[in-house]
Structures are given as C-alpha cells and as structure tokens.
C-alpha cells in the first residue's frame, strides 16, 4: 500500500471542504445573462412581444417559444393530453379541471415581485381549493355591442340577443357556456346550479334564436367586420372590440344591461412537474409588470390585473370601455364562475345540439 495515499485523500477532502465553505452562497445569475428556453401555450396574438415585453427586456437571452391554442377547450385538451408547455393561459370558468386532473403547479407568490400590485379580489379568482394555482392577468367585460345608428333606442338587456326586432342582424359568440351565461342572466337562473330542465329551456331558446342570428362569431375580427359592414347590429362582445370600433369612429355603444355585464379574467398557470419552474415564475412576474400591462391596456384595450396600470389610464375612451367612470360597475357585474367537468360537457353538448338542430 502506498503510504502517501491516506495523506492524499485527506488533503483532497480538506481542499473540497475549504472550497465549499469559502464559496459564496449560490448567487443568482444576472438577468441579462440568464439563458434557457420557456414554452408557453397561449392564444393567437398573445405571442406578440408587446404582451411580454418586460420579460423580453429583462431576460434577453431566454428563448420563449409560443404554441397557439384556439380556445379554452383546446388549451385544456392539449394540456390534458400531455402538452409540455411550461406556462399556459386559461380564462374564467376553465380553471377547476386543471387542478382536479393534477395538471397545474401551485404558485409560490413570494417569488413574484409584482404580486402586491394585484388586488385581493383578483388574486382570489385565481385560487382553487384555497390555493393560488393561477395568477390573474388580463381582464375584460362581456356585454352587448350595438350599432347606435341601427338601434337608436339603445339596448338595456341581454334579451336584445333574442329580440325578433333585430332578426338577421344579431351575432352571438360561438360558445356553449357563454350561451348558458346569457340565458341565466335573462331568466335569473343561478349559473352555478343550472338544472336539467333549465338547460332544456335554454336549448330551446337558442334553437329559436338561430333564425334571428346572422352568424356565430368565433374570432373577434369576424365580429368586427360584421359590425363595420352594417350586417350586425347587436352582438355578444368583449370590450376590446368596442374600444377598437369606437376608435375607428363607428357609431357603436356598449350596453350596461339591467341584469349586469359579465366579467372574465385571463390567468396564467404553470404546468405541474415543469423543469423550468424558476423561469416560469420569472415569466409570470414579468407578465404582471407595468410596461406589459400598459400595452395590454393601450394597444389591445383590455384591463390588466396590475392596479397601478389601471390607475394610470387617462384616455376617456378607455375609461369608458373599462367602466372606470362608473364606481358601481363591479357591483353590477357578474363574474364567470368555474365550471365543473359535468357542466362543461353538458353545456357544450347543448350548444352543439343547438347548431345541429333542424
């Protein structure tokens, strides 16, 4: 045996121990030197840099790959089928299943520097079973958008979408849960506890409405074109379309229906088991930052969950679109509740039957 060997071992261990003790505590890589690839499953248009400008500027060497989903159902089905996106973007109503199916990671909000700028009300909307699984991001209304030159008397109820006076000039959103929501407002049903009888009534009404409806819109450009051409007089719409058409000088108004407007929130979630958890949290935090929020508001006319962003809105047209002039707007607004898997299946099947009806 070589007598020098134990000495050599001891020296090596000592050196390792010393270097371990002497090393600085794990330092964060400077943001501009951070590298990596993040995959985001988002909606068409949200891949534009305006929507994630803070992340792009802070982490210029991180590559963000976007995959596009065409609807909440599409995004959910993709995630359920094992899509490997690190971050995904569901909307109100479509959150519960991600948690039930174990597809979403609980968010450690202590790692989000901008979290304090989000209101408690909106934070709560991203909680399922008391845990913060989602961060709220874009916010909007749904109501009836109408042409004031074609409907000078104005619109004050969701029932306008089923009013024979506007036959051939109505456009409903192509969405089963959306249709159930509208009917619930009209009839005063409890949206969270629609019975089979109520659903049958809702179906009958929408089958009858089909003769009044020009087309069901799936994407906003289609609806906006219909409003511009004068073919559509009254439509289920999000306020982004209202702000856009108003900005173009089109004679349009956005109803404050007596049953209340609908409000929805877009959320970001992190895929359970992602290897990019740290990067995903940084992405979510940057999504809440000011420059990104300002772009959401000023370029795309949607609200943002960062309260500082909303407080800084001065454009009268945007204030009108967001209802910021109306202090009671939130009291008059109905927030979309989360669907259960059974409701999702029943309501979407009801809508398919409406479209397939003779």
């Amino acid at each position: 045996m070589n007598p020098k060997r134990p000495l050599l071992y001891s020296l090596t261990i000592l050196t390792l121990l010393l270097s371990a003790c002497g090393a600085a505590p794990a330092t964060e890589v400077p943001p501009d030197q951070l590298t990596g690839t993040l995959s985001v499953l988002d909606w068409a248009g949200y891949d534009q840099e305006d929507f994630w400008v803070d992340f792009k500027n802070t982490y210029p060497n991180v590559t963000v790959n976007f995959e596009i989903g065409i609807s909440d159902a599409d995004i959910y089905a993709k995630m359920a089928a094992g899509n490997q996106a690190d971050v995904f973007h569901p909307y109100s109503g479509w959150l519960q299943f991600y948690v039930d199916e174990g597809l979403v990671e609980e968010i450690d909000t202590s790692k989000l520097a901008n979290w304090d700028k989000v209101s408690d009300f909106h934070k709560k909307l991203g909680q399922i079973n008391g845990k913060q699984y989602f961060i709220p991001w874009d916010i909007g209304f749904s109501s009836i958008l109408y042409r004031t030159d074609k409907i000078p008397e104005g619109v004050d109820s969701w029932a306008a979408l089923t009013d024979p006076k506007y036959a051939g000039h109505i456009s409903m959103w192509d969405d089963g849960p959306g249709a159930v929501t509208v009917s619930s407002y009209i009839h005063g049903y409890d949206e969270t506890a629609i019975t089979a009888e109520q659903l049958a009534t809702i179906k009958e009404e929408w089958v009858a409405q089909r003769d009044l409806n020009l087309f069901y819109w799936a994407g906003e450009p289609e609806l906006q074109e219909g409003m511009r051409s004068g073919d559509v007089w009254a439509a289920y719409a999000w306020q982004g379309s209202y702000a856009l058409l108003l900005g173009e000088g089109l004679p349009v108004a956005y109803a404050n229906p007596k049953e209340g407007r609908n409000s929805w929130v877009g959320f970001y979630g992190i895929r359970k088991g992602t290897e990019n958890l740290d990067l995903a949290l940084k992405f979510l935090d940057a999504k809440l930052a000011e420059a990104t929020g300002n772009n959401v508001v000023n370029l795309f006319y949607y609200g943002h969950s960062n309260q500082d962003v909303m407080k800084s809105v001065t454009d009268p047209m945007l204030k009108e679109a967001f209802g910021l002039n109306d202090p009671d707007i939130l009291e008059k607004t109905n927030f979309t509740p989360n669907l259960t898997a059974e409701q999702r299946d029943a309501w979407t099947a009801m809508w398919a039957e409406v479209k397939a009806a003779p």
Partner: protein, 310 residues
Amino acid sequence: MTTTPSLPHFRKKLGEGARRVGVGRGLDRRATFWMLYLPPLFWLGAFFLIPLLLMFAFSFRPDMSGDFFRLWQPSFNQYSKLFATGSYWRLLGVSTWMAFEISIFAVVLSYPIAYFLAFHGRQRAGFYLVLLLVPFWTSYLLRVMAWKIMLGTEGVINSFLTYMNIIQEPLTALLYNRNAVVLTLIYVWIPFATLPILAALQRIDVSLFEAAADLGARPIHQFLRITLPLSLPGVFAAFFMVFIPTVGEYVTPLLVGGSRGSMYGNIIQDFFTKAANWPFGSAMSMVMLFGTLVLVAFATRLINLRDLLE
C-alpha cells in the same frame, strides 16, 4: 464424339437458367418494392393509420378524465349518447345530401371543361389547364373568403343589382346559409373534378370516332355511345373525389354558412376544439367514416365500378 443435347435436356437447362434469373430479379423487385413503398407506407401508418386507430380507441373512452394514454375500460357511453341524439343523425343526413348535390353539380360543370380541354384545346390545352389550376396557387381560405366579398350585403352581386336599380335593399339571403355553402363548395371542387374526367377523355382512342362517323353516327350519338361511356370511370372518380371529403367538410360552412349552415364536420370540430370532449368527437368521426365507407361500397357495387374500369 459429341452428342447433340436432346430437346428436353435443353428445356431443362433453360428452365434452371430462367429460374436463376427469376430469383435474382425477384430479389431486385422486392428491394425496389420496399424502397419505393416503405416511405409512403411509414408515412401513412404513422400519420394516418395510428391516429385513426387512436381515435377509434378514444371513442370507447368513458370521458376525458384521467391520464390520456393510460388503459381505460372500454365504454359505449359516447356511442349510446350519439345514438340517442336525433339532431346529429339528421345533420349527418343533411351533410350527405349536400355532398351528393355538390358532387353532382361539380361533375356536371366540370365535364364540359374537361371535354373542351381534351378535344378542342389543341396546342393551347396546356395553357388552359394552367388557367384552370391557377386558383390552387392561392390559399383555400382566400378563395372561400372571396365568396364573402361576392355574396355579402355590400358585395359584388348586391352592389351590381343595387346600381342597376333592380333591387332597393341588398339581398341578405345570398350569404350565411346552406345555399352559400353549396355554391362555394361547387366552385372549390370544379378544378379537382375536371382532372380525372380529363384523364379519362384523353385515354379514348380517336380512331373510334372516325369509325363511328364512317358508320354514319352523328356527333350526339358519338358522344352518347363512345365518349360518355368511356369517360365514366373518370366521372365516377371525380364524383367520389368530391363526395367523400365534402361529407365531413367544416371550413366553408364556418365561413359562409352562418347560424343555419353547420355541417356534421362542424359539430365534430366543436367537440374537439370547443368542448374538450375528444371521446364524443371521436365517436362522431367513427360513425361518419363508417357511414361514408358503407355508402361508397354500396355505390360501387351498384354501378359495378370494376366492370367500368375494365
């Protein structure tokens, strides 16, 4: 002394040689066969057959819950729901009938074009063929959207009729209904339907016409007794080429069909993209696939396609 080999001996030798050559050729052929067919077979298997089998398996899934690729207890849940919903069956019937109408119109309108190209195009036939295929150079969506510009309330037809004082208010019945879907799809399919008919017409031996004329057949008789029967394989190929994809069509109804223009394919698409209900969408697809196959099998038997092709 040399002996001349007997004839049977010679034949035997020849046979052995031929067999040897045959074996060699067999190997070459086999290698060539696999080289040529393996890539498309792999492609079809990986991207058509396996997804189709997966969809078949999915149609027996009770619902969307749980891991997607775990084994599940087969269930007829989706099929029983589908069988209980009359409106889907009715819509499948409507879509089949629309596909039939569209195929008939597309073939009838394509035939004169193909006839012209085959017999009267002369040196310019190639140029005319290119003209016919020009629409393929633009996107399908663009061509369908062009029909919106034609049929819309502020579209070409309405503007012209208003300008001519024929109508005072624009016609709203032109767009956003099933007729608009039929009209647009006939237009989309005409170039496709022309090609197989043209191929069949070009195969006809022109000396048959000379013989018929010598025997006193007038042009109409020549057409009915020679051209039409000999071009029927192309006509049927064109018909099925239009019919089969049209039954499941969903893009055109989405764009020009309006609230009442949905076809069966739109409902399938909805279950995949708007309902997150892949099992039910799969069951609907399987029913359509099976239905179309049965119809085509029945039709080919009825018209005895094999005899026609021979």
